[in-house]
Amino acid sequence: MKRTTDETALLTRYLLGDLSEEEQVSLEEQFFANDDMYQQLTALEDELRYDYSQGGLTAVQRAQFEKRFLTTPGDRRRVELAKAVLAKATESAKLNAALEPSRPWWASFVQFFTTPVSLASTVAAVSALGAVLFFSQTVNLRQELNQVQSRGSADQIALNEQKSQGDSLRRELQQERTRREQLEQGSASQKPASRRFLVAFALAPGLLRDTDGPKRLRVPAGADEVRLQLDLKAPVPSPDLRASLQNLEGQELWSQDAKAAGSAVTLVLPARLLPPGDYMVDLKGRGATADGARSNEYYFTVVR
């Protein structure tokens, strides 16, 4: 990081005309032969304009910047635009942060039903969502029952509690099954569950993993479901999480409670919800406020 900072200082001095002729020529030879360095210089020049517009340069740097980069009306317009862009962006970011915690629960609900999608795709999506819930709860139920059975008679009280939980889950499962059957009746094109085509990907948290941008997931045209394994960067205080799929406009497309297993969380989404585009999955503690909880964000791009 220190090397990068030193390099930044050197490039800044070059742009502001603060290097010896020998140093300038040496640096120019590098950027003529090296596109990465040239890109850094052009980005840094633009950054200087934004820093200048914020009053972020030293007095000497300001004078050097004005002499070199503020000589025409066009230059002055660009600095004014930089100032306006940052002012508006800061205002918007603050507004977003202020609005986020007070967003009522029903907003997502209303948004879901006001999102313009066709009836057929809505039915299919809800149906597939039902299938996901069914699958997820079946797995959970099996795990619970296995645990209960393995404890044997030595812990009868715990067994009873587990059985009670198992009964409750079984009832929920039955309800889900009924709901799913109803939905399937309304969707003639639905494939049988046994023939579902599922593709799986693993994602790491963070905006970007490299300079090429978010991870690209190639989802085949015939895929019914997409399984995402979300790696957790750090242990979570509680395994009970809430996953929210959003587009990059921040619009929630789908959400579901999820459970951390070890250092990962697995989600199964209907592939129909993922046409080509950029997405983000927000994973945070269930019931936590937006600003009070550390959330993991997973960015990815779907290509078909």
Partner: protein, 203 residues
């Protein structure tokens, strides 16, 4: 500004051939060189960089026409060498005639009233309101992660700013250089969005 005499198509073709055997790739490399030369002259304080770029490319092409071989380890460096000569000649001319272009003066030394500038500023005021509307729309349309990246990157000043940017790069698990390029593109997209919106609004 351009040097006297003209360069032949054959010489230009040879120049392209030196850059890349594939004609299309050679064209792309040629454009990249033009862009680098333009910024080179601009960063060295020339007010009309495009003119100096033309002179540089003419000279390089003519040397090819005269049968010169490029001995530089990289043809880009050959262009840089010629561009340095053009730049030195420019400085000599400036010193000889004590020329300081008006647009090379810092704002504090610029003439108080320039009719061209005044006309431009009047037109500018008329489009300010439109520009503000466009800016609001473009920032509102910016995906939230990008908005946050932009504001966090430009949040602080001085030493705190450097620390903040390093911390942001660490959080995103990318090098600082990659973060800088990413934020540069976000700013560029926003400015392009505003420019296009203003242009469409003026039609």
């Amino acid at each position: 500004m351009a040097d006297p005499g003209s360069v032949s198509q054959a010489a230009f073709d040879r120049l392209l051939q030196t850059l890349d055997a594939d004609r299309e790739q050679a064209g792309l490399k040629y454009e990249a060189i033009r862009q680098k030369l333009t910024n080179f002259f601009r960063w060295r304080g020339c007010s009309d960089p495009e003119d100096y770029v033309d002179v540089t490319i003419d000279r390089v092409t003519r040397r090819f026409q005269e049968g010169a071989e490029v001995h530089a380890r990289d043809p880009y460096l050959y262009f840089h060498g010629v561009a340095l000569n053009v730049l030195r000649e420019h400085w000599k001319k400036v010193q000889k005639h004590s020329i300081t272009a008006l647009d090379e003066l810092p704002p504090s030394q610029s003439p108080a009233e320039d009719p061209v500038v005044q006309r431009e500023e009047a037109a500018e005021r008329q489009t300010n309101e439109l520009r503000l509307d466009c800016l609001n729309g473009c920032v509102d349309a910016l995906p939230r992660p990008q908005l946050e990246m932009l504001t966090q990157y430009h949040q602080e000043k001085g030493g705190t700013k450097i620390a903040q940017r390093n911390e942001l790069a660490r959080k995103l698990d990318i090098p600082l250089n990659a973060l800088r390029i990413r934020v540069f593109r976000i700013r560029g997209d926003l400015e392009s969005c505003v420019g296009t919106c203003v242009k469409n609004g003026q039609r």
